[in-house]
């Protein structure tokens, strides 16, 4: 594995899907299976690269590994990428989700197949870039670069209300990201004033100490962008529409990795850069997280549409993740990071289930389903496992994350942890009830429904495997992230005390 350390392996991973998309441009649109097969190949190649990165990532070290830095535009804008224990699992998750998406849309997308796969691969490049960028401008480029392909994926291949949903998605995201851009500019000019050097490098900007008032304003710019993406209440209204109207692959990408970009941005950039602003905003943000947990759960309970139910459950689960990040202790933050992966797997899996069911019954309304488990035994078995993982059954991955988050929350406030534990009860209620309505009971008419094909089983298998793996042996991941989570928390805490000293002067 030594050779991997010497290659620019992160750039290679990021650009493989892009190169694939460019080649796809020149393939003939009628040859649908060739296009699907080729994109699958490309995305599996990307996955192999990131597995290699994951394996050769040294666990004992803290800080970024596989660093690459090249001058790109000048003025402190560099191609600078690297991974640490926090971004590594997400990087891996992203490259795992995309082959699954391509397999899942194999029979669901029949229209404009070529364009669909081009946009899918472009999205993959952008999201991988987001998790690996260590330069704020580069981060912004990837962050925004994701938006256009997703706009097309939802808007062209979505269901009936897709245009409304996709425009809402883009406009919400743009509000946030432009405010973040404004914060970037201000941060950039402060850094220039302080040091005389132009720099967007994360490591440089980290050394900057700003007055709490300025920190607060800049933090709000970052926070708005990330909170919309997560989404935190009250910025969540785009999510149910976008998730519900998107094609299966789109929903899986949205729930699986896009939402994590927000949580990742908080812990990677917003918290360490503006610790004293975090201190001022922490309690309100915790309230927002807890209300997201409860609100998402209650809304999910009230849904009639299965896909919308999963979408609202996403809001609830993302509430757990932001709560875990805000605990600012080792247990809570580690739980949050692993929960990001878990949520990607379980909610992504649930959307795949919904997609598979929709392909067979042509409805998403739960009242019109029922008794499907007899006709679809394999699908129903997968549904049970993924659902239990989402609820947090011990032995499955969801338990690890949720347990750690609640334990971390317990350390700061018992009431918070009690209320958020109630969120788990809610999730058990809406998911079990949904399962009962969809899979059990009297079968509705509609013969000729086939169970999962081999191709479909194929894409559920890695999800199921990882669900058990993380549930039974989470150490594979924790060992790699431990040091960096500790390091990040230390940065946040140490900078904070420094700022207070500044204030006393």
């Amino acid at each position: 594995m030594e050779i991997i350390r010497e290659l620019p392996v992160i750039s290679l991973t990021i650009f493989t899907p892009l190169a694939g998309a460019v080649i796809l441009l020149f393939l003939r649109g009628e040859r649908k299976n060739l296009i699907r097969g080729f994109s699958l190949l490309i995305s599996i190649l990307t996955l192999i690269f990131s597995i290699a990165i994951f394996i050769s990532f040294e666990r004992g070290k803290s800080g970024f590994q596989f660093l690459e830095k090249k001058d790109w535009l000048g003025m402190g804008i560099n191609w600078s990428v690297g991974l640490d224990g926090i971004s590594l699992p997400l990087f891996l998750l992203t490259s795992l989700i995309f082959p699954i998406c391509i397999l899942a849309s194999w029979s669901q997308i029949e229209n404009k197949v070529k364009e669909f796969h081009i946009f899918l691969l472009l999205t993959e490049t952008a999201i991988l870039g987001v998790f690996a960028s260590l330069n704020l401008f580069l981060f912004y480029v990837f962050w925004e670069g994701m938006l256009i392909p997703m706009y097309f994926i939802i808007g062209v291949w979505g269901s009936s209300e897709r245009i409304y949903a996709t425009i809402k998605f883009v406009l919400f995201t743009m509000v946030g990201s432009l405010m973040m851009l404004l914060s970037f500019f201000v941060l950039y000019s402060y850094y220039f004033k302080a040091s005389g050097i132009y720099s967007f490098e994360f490591s440089d900007l980290l050394s900057l100490s700003l007055s709490p008032k300025i920190q607060l304003w800049l933090f709000l710019g970052f926070f708005l962008s990330f909170a919309i993406k997560v989404p935190m209440i009250p910025f969540h209204t785009w999510l149910p529409d976008a998730h519900t109207e998107a094609p299966t692959a789109g929903s899986v990408i949205l729930a699986g990795v896009l939402l994590k970009m927000g949580a990742y941005g908080l812990i990677r950039f917003a918290f360490p850069l503006f610790p004293s602003a975090l201190e001022q905003m922490r309690t309100p943000m915790i309230y927002l997280s807890i209300s997201a947990i409860i609100y998402g759960g209650l809304m999910a309970l009230a849904q009639k549409d299965l896909k919308r139910l999963v979408a609202y459950s996403s809001i609830s689960h993302m509430g757990f993740i932001t709560l875990g990040l805000l605990t600012l202790n080792d247990i809570g933050v580690q739980g949050a990071v692993i929960q990001m992966v878990n949520h990607g797997l379980s909610t992504g899996g649930l959307f795949l289930i919904v997609g598979a069911i929709y392909e067979r019954t042509h409805t998403r309304i739960m009242r019109e389903m029922g008794g499907l488990s007899k006709k679809l035994p394999i699908l129903s078995a997968f549904f049970v496992i993924i659902m239990l993982s989402s609820i947090g059954l011990p032995g499955l991955n969801g338990f690890v994350g949720e347990f750690l988050i609640i334990a971390g929350t317990f350390k700061i406030n018992i009431t918070y942890s009690a209320i958020s534990a109630f969120g788990i009860v809610l999730s058990a209620a809406y998911l079990l009830w949904a399962f009962q309505r969809v899979m059990q009971g009297k079968a509705k008419e509609g013969n000729g429904i086939r169970d999962l094909r081999i191709r479909e089983i194929l894409y559920f298998i890695p999800i199921i495997l990882l669900i058990f793996w993380i549930g039974l042996y989470p150490k594979t991941f924790f060992a790699k992230m431990e040091k960096d989570v500790k390091g990040t928390i230390e940065v946040i805490k140490s900078k904070k005390s420094f700022d207070f000293k500044e204030l006393l002067k």
Binding site: E144, I148, F152, I167, M174, V175, L178, F185
Partner: protein, 462 residues
């Protein structure tokens, strides 16, 4: 006196003469277009070869340095692209477009005169040649009454703006010694010059002619208006400001620039939201972009010049590309440029829709296109010079612009097909669009080469 100083103007004038002689002899007007393209390529090659990096001055009023040479090449390039898109367009159109090619070359000569002088009167002369050719270019579609209306409007308001301009020039020249503005009268003169240019550059509140003229004129003319006069105009205004204020704008001027810029961004973007006609929408969008460009003027002397030039270059590719894409939307000799006409375009001509989408997302400022970098440089420079609130307005209005830039894409990709036969571009149009798209992407990903030329061009600005 070095005779090379006359090469740019002479080569264009000769080309015009050749075209005028050939015009009555040729029955098929496309051939005239091809000949014009060859002449333009030939002239620009001579200019690049003879001028190079040299600085040549003729006391009669011509001043050629890197800045002028850069803009001369850009002017040739613009006209070259317009010629490419107009050949297919004019042969599909029912009107005859007599005189289109010579007029375009006349406009080119105006641009060249404008950028190759420091003398305000000669700049005015160039600007007038450019403007008068533009009036004719806008009224050139004889079968379309709106084209005539556009020409009249453009002419009347253009003449008014020329009056402001010449009055301002008179005040400046009569009171200043060399390039120093000594009295308050000369500052007033500069303000009037700013007003005159604001008309030509369609800045609010002097923008009223823009939507009507852009909508009524045939697409190649509109594309030219959105590129030629704007790019040359902004560049010349930049040079005048830099010369006369030598890097320190008086607060009277900066305040006016601030207000004009903010108003243009706000009004341009908000008005564009309501348009159903794509030409009209892009007209308002170009007003907004003028506002963004003007932001760079506030930091003249503090790094603003190069970002203005970079924005203009990006604007050439992305805005030019967006207008040029519309030349293909022609059927039975008429233009179909309502939003509805785009429905399902991605099925009929996937390349045209892909190009138009690229230009629109670039105008909206998405990566990895020139639009993002152009905005980024201007905005971050403005923040560094303390214009936080103006940047704030710029960012909010950019957000608003995303909505209307994405709307044509909704029609092209997400609606069902209607209106058959519209939107099949010819070979030359595709070639031009390809060049526009290449520029938009290249500037967005590898801007360093372009920046090298820009830095060389403003070498004298310091």
């Amino acid at each position: 006196m070095n005779p090379i100083v006359f090469v740019p103007i002479a080569s264009v004038t000769l080309s015009i003469l050749i075209i005028l002689i050939l015009d009555p002899l040729l029955k098929r007007k496309e051939i005239l277009g091809y000949i014009s393209i060859l002449l333009v390529i030939f002239s620009v090659s001579i200019c690049i070869y003879l001028l190079g990096d040299r600085k040549i001055i003729y006391e009669g009023g011509i001043f050629l340095d890197n800045f002028s040479n850069y803009l001369i090449v850009i002017s040739f390039f613009i006209v070259f692209l317009i010629l490419l898109i107009s050949i297919n367009y004019t042969s599909n159109h029912s009107s005859s477009f007599d005189g289109f090619y010579p007029l375009l070359l006349f406009a080119l000569s105006g641009m060249i005169i404008m950028v190759s002088s420091l003398n305000l009167l000669i700049i005015f002369l160039g600007l007038e040649i450019l403007s008068i050719s533009s009036y004719a270019l806008s009224a050139i579609d004889k079968k379309n009454i709106f084209s005539a209306e556009a020409g009249t409007k453009y002419f009347l308001l253009g003449a008014l703006s020329s009056a402001f301009l010449i009055f301002g020039i008179a005040l400046v020249l009569s009171t200043s010694k060399g390039f120093t503005l000594s009295t308050s009268t000369s500052i007033l003169g500069m303000a009037l010059i700013l007003v005159g240019f604001s008309f030509k550059l369609s800045l609010v509140p002097f923008h009223a002619w823009t939507p009507d003229v852009y909508e009524g004129s045939p697409v190649p003319s509109t594309t030219f208006f959105s590129l030629g006069p704007k790019i040359a105009g902004f560049a010349v205004l930049l040079r005048i400001f830099d010369l006369y204020f030598s890097g320190k704008l008086p607060s009277f001027i900066t305040n006016s620039l601030w207000i004009i810029s903010a108003l243009s961004m706000i009004l341009g973007n908000f008005s564009a939201l309501r348009q159903r006609n794509i030409k009209r929408m892009l007209a308002y969008s170009s007003i907004a972009h003028s506002g963004y460009i003007l932001m760079g003027f506030l930091s003249i002397g503090k790094g603003g010049e190069k970002w203005v030039l970079f924005y203009l270059l990006s604007y050439l590719f992305i805005n030019g590309g967006a207008f040029a894409s519309l030349t293909a939307l022609i059927k039975d000799g008429k233009e179909y440029v309502e939003l509805e006409n785009l429905s399902g375009l991605s099925k009929r001509s996937p390349w045209l829709s892909a190009f138009l989408s690229l230009f629109l997302i670039s105008l909206a400022g998405f990566p990895p296109t020139a639009g993002l970098l152009a905005k980024f440089y201007i905005f971050s420079n403005a923040i560094q010079n303390g214009y936080f609130w103006l940047t704030f307005i710029a960012i909010i209005t950019t957000l608003i612009s995303v909505y209307y830039y994405l709307r044509p894409i909704v029609f092209m990709y997400m609606r069902e097909e209607e209106g058959e036969g519209i939107g099949i571009p010819g070979f030359l149009t595709i070639l031009a669009l390809f060049i526009f798209a290449l520029g938009a992407l290249h500037l967005g990903i590898f801007p360093k080469q372009a920046l090298y030329f820009i830095l060389k061009a403003i070498g004298y600005l310091g």
